[in-house]
Amino acid sequence: MTTALSARYGLIRGNLSLRQKRVLWAWSFLAVPIAFYSIIRFWPTLEAFTLSFTDWNLLRPASFVGFDNYIRLANDPLFWQVFRNSAVYLLIGTPVSLVLSFVIAYYLDRVNFMHGFIRALYFLPFLTTAAAMAWVWRWFYQPLPIGVLNGVLTWLGLSQQPFLRSTVQALPAILAPAIWAGLGFQVIIFMAGLRAIPLSYYEAARIDGLSELAILRKITIPLLKPTIVFLVVFSSIGFLRIFDQVYNMTFNDPGGPLNTTKPIVLMIYQTAFKSMEMGYAAAQTVVLFLVLLVVSLIQLRLLKDH
């Protein structure tokens, strides 16, 4: 039996052209990964969609409820608050970090003296663990007598600020470490982009008598567009999915005070893993998916325009 099989196999092999053999190789290389992506990525995606139409909550069997979860979501003021918060994380986080990192990269690129050292200073925060640094920042934001920032403020003769205890200041206070940690990465990417611009362009521009500002506007920024688009997409997705900082900095009142810092991922986490409302949480993940899709498509569109 086995010899017969191997003989047949040998026969088939013998009949295969070189090209067919390579195709076989290709599929055998792809076999495990295709299984992986099917089981770990595509199947769960479908399952998330399916779950979002059920009322499943771990404790009782799921039953189909149509669009109930989505209707509930649309009528849930908390969801809209969370949606707004996520938008604010994105709309403040992305421009601030992009402008800062571009300015730093632009000037750092021209610095020769201790270049590597200064670059390292900016890059180091990128290597920290968000969950760890969240606690450091949380300490900074404490009220007197223990808070570092309030200590500095009162030392300067200013009044102390509530930071994490304020419905207005808490969100930017949580955003700050997120921007801080990502800045180094963006600086490095911008510098790579700047270096990819051929020097001859600058030389030609100088010969034409263009000012530094005009060079920046007419040459540098247009040529950096792919880099800028990449960073905008990358950091937008990052800010939309912020979680670690919020979870750790508002541990006693997650997403508080009064839900003013709660991002969508924290809402998903709480709905699924604290209230056990898996169906409702799945609907929230679908919404997150759609939001990310729209944001990415808009940004890809911008890339296409280029």
Binding site: R60, Q142, P143, L144, K274
Partner: protein, 416 residues
């Protein structure tokens, strides 16, 4: 001759041990992470295993935040614990989800349970069956820093007994700098800690109201009494300036750091506070208001999960019986600081006279137990209510109405 006997004895012992090790039943026990609870349970397991060499208990712990979800998902997947610890307020979910089974009556007779445990055990009964037994119960008390009392000119051995004395003491101890920044609290305010229980089951009742009716399925604190209670609480920060929510991050940190003269906390905090070396502290009953005393009691119970059968069930029964025995309760009280759930083990004259356990035990006699449907979410409504007043300057009356509405919605949703 003697030597030979010893050797024979040893050999016999060995074969006994190995034979038992081979046939040992392993059961898994789950509870959430809390340093002293883990320590106490480890001790209990050790003692239990010594007495029952044919049973091995595996002890698994994880954070409170995800505890309930993880228990539910593990059991529905046919895995996880054989004996599980659960908060009394989760029972409805656990029973309707068929996560746990009724206590077998052969080992746990109902009349004995009712005679021997504190009446709050009733929260473990559904459809005529008991589903779990606690090792310990918890109540609240007022912790105070004797050193800060003394420095402020108060008698460290005469803690406040009424709310008027409480306010006077808090005002005397609270310290501010010249620009009005809080430097040291008279009373550590923390709605995310135990203050929400204080407000719900103590302050509201002391003002002549009740928080809920219909077995805690109907929120009724949107009343005169509820408003007075809320006003009293927020005035501690707004008017009297004796406390500040968020000071030192949380109340227990402020108290532990010696920057708060008083805090309301439970028996479960005794372990953590016992490590305080910088000052002496004392415990007293929650202050009376309008001549009324009240308290909030709660407990974690141990239950047998639904998947357990056969020899594992026998082992689980033995283990459950042991962890709710007077001996286990005694160990638990010494390590964790929680009060024994059996009257006879709790109300000993030594315990009642104890300067620390005494006030908690007295509190237990007039304590109420909120039947939460979702403790975290219901607590959140109270946190938000106070934050709306303190941060957003919302009118307490509106804040209260909003909280009542939100909490009722949570209860109604759970009942569906």
């Amino acid at each position: 001759m003697r030597l030979r006997k010893i050797i024979a004895g040893l050999a016999f012992g060995f074969s006994f041990i190995t034979a038992n090790a081979a046939s040992a039943v392993e059961i898994e026990y789950w509870q959430y992470v809390f340093d002293t609870r883990v320590k106490a349970m480890d001790q209990l397991i050790q003692k239990f295993q010594a007495a029952n060499p044919d049973i091995k208990v595996k002890h698994t712990t994880f954070p409170y935040a995800e505890y309930q979800t993880k228990v539910a998902s593990a059991i529905t997947a046919g895995q996880g614990p054989d004996v599980v610890q659960l908060f009394y307020g989760w029972l409805d979910g656990f029973v309707s989800g068929k996560l746990i089974q009724p206590l077998p009556k052969d080992a746990f007779a109902q009349d004995k349970i009712e005679a021997e445990f504190f009446p709050i055990i009733a929260a473990m009964k559904r459809n005529g069956e008991y589903y779990g037994l606690p090792t310990a119960v918890r109540s609240l008390a007022l912790f105070y820093n004797k050193k800060l009392f003394q420095t402020a000119g108060l008698d460290p051995n005469k803690p406040p007994q009424t709310i008027e004395e409480f306010i006077a003491a808090a005002e005397k101890v609270a310290k501010h700098d010249s620009s009005g920044n809080m430097l040291s609290e008279g009373f550590a305010m923390d709605m995310a800690g135990q203050d929400h229980q204080w407000w719900r089951e103590v302050l509201i009742r002391q003002n002549g109201g009740v928080p809920y009716t219909d077995n805690d399925r109907k929120v009724v604190y949107n009343s005169e009494a509820g408003l007075k209670a809320l006003q009293f609480y927020v005035d501690l920060q707004k008017k009297l300036k004796v406390g500040q929510v968020g000071f030192m991050d949380e109340a227990q940190a402020a108290f532990k750091g010696g920057l708060a003269a008083m805090t309301i906390d439970g028996t479960f905090r005794l372990g953590a506070f016992s490590s305080i070396k910088a000052f002496e502290w004392g415990v007293t009953e929650l202050p009376a208001m309008n001549g009324v005393r009240s308290n909030y009691a709660s407990y974690f119970a141990n239950a047998i999960t639904s998947k357990v059968t056969g020899e594992k069930l026998e082992a689980a029964k033995k283990f459950l019986a042991y962890v709710s025995s007077p001996e286990a309760m005694d160990i638990w009280m010494k390590v964790v600081g929680e009060l024994p759930a059996r009257r006879s083990a709790a109300l000993t004259s030594a315990n009642l006279a104890d300067p620390i356990y005494g006030p908690f035990l007295k509190g237990l006699e007039y304590a109420h137990t909120t039947l939460f449907v979702d403790e975290a979410a219901q607590r959140q409504t109270a946190i938000d209510m106070v934050n709306r007043v303190l941060i957003q300057n919302q009118d307490p009356k509106e804040a209260l109405a909003e909280a009542a509405k939100a909490e009722q919605a949570i209860i109604d949703r759970a009942a569906k």
